[in-house]
Symmetry: C2
Subunit: 245 residues, 2 copies
Amino acid sequence: MVISSLDNEKIKKYKKLQKKKYRDLYHQYIVEGMHLVLEAYKTGVIEELILEENEIIPLPIPYTYVTKEIMKKISSLDTPSSVMAVCHKKEKENDNFGNRILILDEIQDPGNLGTIIRSAVAFSIDTIILSENTVDLYNPKVLRATQGMIFHVNIIIRNAFEIVPLLQNYGIPVYGTQVDHGMDVRSLTKKDKERFALVVGNEGNGVRLEISSMCDRNLYINMNDSVESLNVAVATSILLYELGR
Amino acid sequence: MVISSLDNEKIKKYKKLQKKKYRDLYHQYIVEGMHLVLEAYKTGVIEELILEENEIIPLPIPYTYVTKEIMKKISSLDTPSSVMAVCHKKEKENDNFGNRILILDEIQDPGNLGTIIRSAVAFSIDTIILSENTVDLYNPKVLRATQGMIFHVNIIIRNAFEIVPLLQNYGIPVYGTQVDHGMDVRSLTKKDKERFALVVGNEGNGVRLEISSMCDRNLYINMNDSVESLNVAVATSILLYELGR
């Protein structure tokens, strides 16, 4: 059976998942496109596939067929894929943070968050901690920009003011970031890079002052004076690249 | 006088500049927001300011007042700024490329292009060469993502197949980029970084094979095997950061 009505209860539910409110309520989200669906499948988070009529995917998962028009209504894209999946958020967060931690303080742009997650996996970050006002992790643009890497790293949400001293209590040095002063990231020693939490901040304002003042060190990237700052996903990626040397 | 009619000839012209076709025809484009307008002003490319009624800007440049509603029609943003400027494209391209060149081969995403330009200025690139199928430099999203840095670097458009051998004839080594093989960018010597042209490619496909095969070397960034690739703006920025060491 191919669903073609917007009044269908399933379709109503799928449409709701476009909004953070309902993603939070149902603990579910939708991924779009074959690449993301396969990554989600490997992680075991898919509950149901949504397929455009005639699409065939040989995965042992319940599926619902819908028309192209319905696909368009559910999708966040102008040109939707013929494959989507309803996924459940991870039941339990992993409180074993590992040795390489990234803290994101109020990142607002979904593309930036997704790109940072992709880079964090590339440079072997164990845990990403999102502050409470960060853009929703399950926003479709975030998911897309991660290129599926969201499923390859432990990601948790915490209050940044509480997590920084907690990590310091565990003996993990916390590195803030500041554009105008601090320490050139190139000056870090091998030992400085063994175990750390790096904090990067909001696109417009950087790391909140109350948080950077709690940090053990603040790092900067050496660059041309005529530029005030780099894009936050770029800056974070360069710092992670250096911390992985 | 405050223009409030969409039938006004000036307003019709401004609206046309939302499209590449007309930007090419008139050799003009619009920048939005105080930060970009000031950067454009410093470069001397502004022909006219477009201001929302009541806005006052003490710059010695002709201006046109329009209503908030008209501002919305001209703007590329959901929440327009109260300040825009009509700018002219640079009359003459600078054919003195300098020693540090970046070639962008068919970059498609405006946010990526803008972010790369911002990073290129931060890491002291002299000239950016765009291949012919690159997204329009004067696309509003590109301009915004450059954070005004578009005015701080020589940017030209060339056929990539012609420019690579030309630069090599000048004795400039051309470095391609490849995800899967090539040379770790960290292995470059000080001398390798004195004078170069770096080629980075399209979001989905990377540098076209015919071009990377012309390059003197292909570079890669050392990272975790589970990640196929980085975002192109991130990868380019890391390479430029390394080439600036």
